[in-house]
Symmetry: C2
Subunit: 198 residues, 2 copies
């Protein structure tokens, strides 16, 4: 199906995409990722950034162009994307968009063990989640509104729109789940099967 990528870390895709624009040194890349808020959807730390760029260089997707010593700053290596790198971006992007991947949200694991908790405790923690989700939904909406007010086109906000859709779906799910757990027959059957545990 999907052949394994030479550098599977999604951070690598973002790096390649920025280098499509112009050559840059790692620190600059990191700054742009932060500034444009793209780091909200990618697991990003400075050390992993350097690691990933090293891997990209080994794979031949980028090349070290020059080592600049601007005035007196620590020296910075500027990287440029290669032809192979350009190809990789497009191929990877198409495949990520076309094929849903198995994702493993932590919440799903927790849900599969929900029966371990007494019903009232389960309801309590899920209420806390619901409130937290409401907060995130609010935040995301604000971010998007502000961006739109700054004239950012909708196409550059699709990933936020997607995050919002998922958050809202999860919130609906949690709300319904809480209702189900509050039914007296659930409490009863839980007592019968799990009540006598250590």
């Amino acid at each position: 199906m999907e052949r394994r990528r030479r550098v599977p870390n999604p951070l690598a895709l973002a790096v390649l995409a920025w280098l499509l624009w112009e050559p840059m040194h790692p620190y600059e890349l990191g700054r742009r990722l932060k500034q444009t808020g793209k780091d909200r959807h990618i697991r990003y730390t400075r050390s992993s950034l350097y690691m990933v760029i090293e891997q990209l260089a080994r794979a031949g997707f980028v090349t070290a162009q020059e080592t600049v010593r601007d005035s007196a700053r620590p020296e910075r290596t500027v990287y440029a994307i290669t032809e192979e790198g350009r190809h990789e971006v497009h191929d990877w992007l198409r495949s990520l968009l076309a094929q849903p991947r198995e994702e493993y949200p932590h919440f799903a694991v927790a849900l599969s063990l929900l029966s371990l908790l007494p019903p009232d405790e389960a309801v309590e923690v899920l209420r806390r989640r619901s409130a937290a989700l409401a907060g995130r939904i609010e935040e995301t909406r604000t971010t998007m509104d502000e961006a739109r007010a700054d004239g950012v086109a909708w196409i550059f906000l699709v990933e936020e729109q997607y995050a919002l859709a998922l958050l809202e779906a999860e919130r609906r799910f949690v709300t319904e789940l809480i209702e189900s757990l509050k039914q007296p027959d659930y409490a009863k059957s839980w007592q019968e099967t799990m009540g006598g545990r250590a």
Copy 2:
């Protein structure tokens, strides 16, 4: 906020939960994870299972009980959960349920780069995704129906229900996105800004 877990891998939570039931050897644990389909929501391979159990033992959440040499099979070490382990399961479970974590779905990264693709190409790949999503939705529904027919209680299917809710939300999102991309003014503005690239 959330203090870091000694063994953060979610597979560890599943392992501890099974050991709550009775002591077991690693291979047996793996078999049960597969049989009950819990491996669909956890990143699971045999090697990571052994690694995780080793980590749990170091952390004091499980202890090696005995090394059995049943007839002639390779010897198997049986592990039991400790008091600390029991505590960890409940604490971890509660915190996973109560606090939404930052998840980093690959699709979000891809979406943030959607503007790189020509509109008609974007529409084409997203249509493929939509079809794939429909397939998964169908599969999940079937799995759940079969389980229910076998008398499995709803509480043991919540994680599937959750997966279904997310899949359906994503499908709706993709459908709407395709419609937006098909608008002639998007093609026009894409031509203007991106048309003249390499």
